[in-house]
Point group: C2
Chain length 222, copies 2
């Protein structure tokens, strides 16, 4: 088991080297294994323990009442899954979690986490910080989704990943459409129009920004 990866996980990152063995010995956990494509958790599952992804990667997605998919994020090891929900009154998984590759996950009981939080200040800090960052992430996602037009979203998305004119759409258009919460052909059309308008070029996932002024204007108008 890749338990050493646990210490690389953001919520444990602050623990001093000389305390790490103690920390690991105190912790009560068990390992679970998932194959690519398997569901690790479903929207609505009760969160009774802290899940930490030690190996592999997963995607978190939300299925709306209408059945449409909203791709929330991809999580790589080592990282915790939904740690914020461990202490919520309504402690249900907010998303479906699906293994993108073979995964190893360790499960730590809530009691064990509480104990460490109370007695290990570095762990407390790491845990708080991670949850804070998550809340920030969700806020940003909220803001992003409130961008009204597809071209506005694309412009924001592209500008955030552009260096010296070059950018890469980290995912397929199909996945991107789910991330934006829009229909795939609509996304494709918007991209085509931006290419026609000579704002960007695109070859596969890689593109160039030809006209920053127009691209920024799309952010402001959308």
């Amino acid at each position: 088991m890749d338990i050493d990866n646990l210490i690389l996980c953001p919520i444990c990152g602050n623990i001093p080297v000389n305390e790490r063995d103690d920390f690991l010995n105190e912790l009560k956990f068990k390992a679970k294994y998932f194959k690519k494509g398997e569901w690790i958790a479903q929207q609505g599952d009760i969160v009774k323990a802290l899940y930490i992804l030690l190996k592999g990667s997963v995607k978190a997605e939300m299925i709306s009442d209408a059945g449409t998919v909203l791709n929330i994020e991809t999580i790589n090891a080592p990282n915790p899954l939904a740690p914020a929900f461990l202490f919520a009154e309504n402690n249900h998984f907010p998303v479906d979690v699906v293994a993108l590759e073979d995964c190893e996950i360790i499960v730590i009981s809530k009691e064990s986490i509480m104990k460490q939080l109370a007695c290990n200040e570095m762990f407390l800090q790491g845990f708080m910080k991670f949850n804070s960052n998550r809340a920030h992430f969700l806020s940003e996602r909220l803001k992003f989704l409130s961008t009204k037009t597809i071209k506005g979203k694309l412009a924001k998305y592209i500008l955030a990943r552009t260096e010296n004119m070059d950018f890469s759409l980290d995912m397929s258009q199909t996945a991107l459409a789910e991330y934006f919460g829009v229909a795939r052909p609509s996304l494709s059309r918007s991209l085509s129009e931006m290419i026609d308008d000579e704002i960007i070029t695109l070859k596969g996932k890689n593109g160039k920004v030809l006209n920053f002024t127009k691209l920024r204007r799309l952010v402001t108008n959308g």
Copy 2:
């Protein structure tokens, strides 16, 4: 000052009665006062301390890059403002906060909070729980916004507040449109159509559900 209200604040709620005086004495804070309409914090302000709203109410809203308003929530006293961001790496206020009435706010330093978290387990639990609930709220808001059609949002919104056929739209249509992130006339039109279709009736803010089947179908289709 209404310092006694502090103990009624969710993050302090678990502290046993006999520990409360100690808790308040340990805490280092100062009070601030805001008049109705004043901005308490702006999107991007650095969160250096914990703000707790002791008296009054505020609204939190996000201004997108395009200048449109997304109304996030109304917060009533006593409640903390953006406690999750106190520990984030990117510790900026995610929203604009505006006083809806005259407000009293106490400001507690991060150090003082850290100290209490480490030495007062009930406070730790309350703090974690509150932040967990916030993350849950943001997730739900995300899910809600991913509802594609206005009627779908309206249907969800109305069903969540219906008891025995009766419901009340807690805000003006103008505010509701901002909460939904849509244009006001579009919201008005959707409401009119739902009334024409004999799904609901509406008089001012108060309405009745006439056809639950159709209303639920709107949730599923939108």
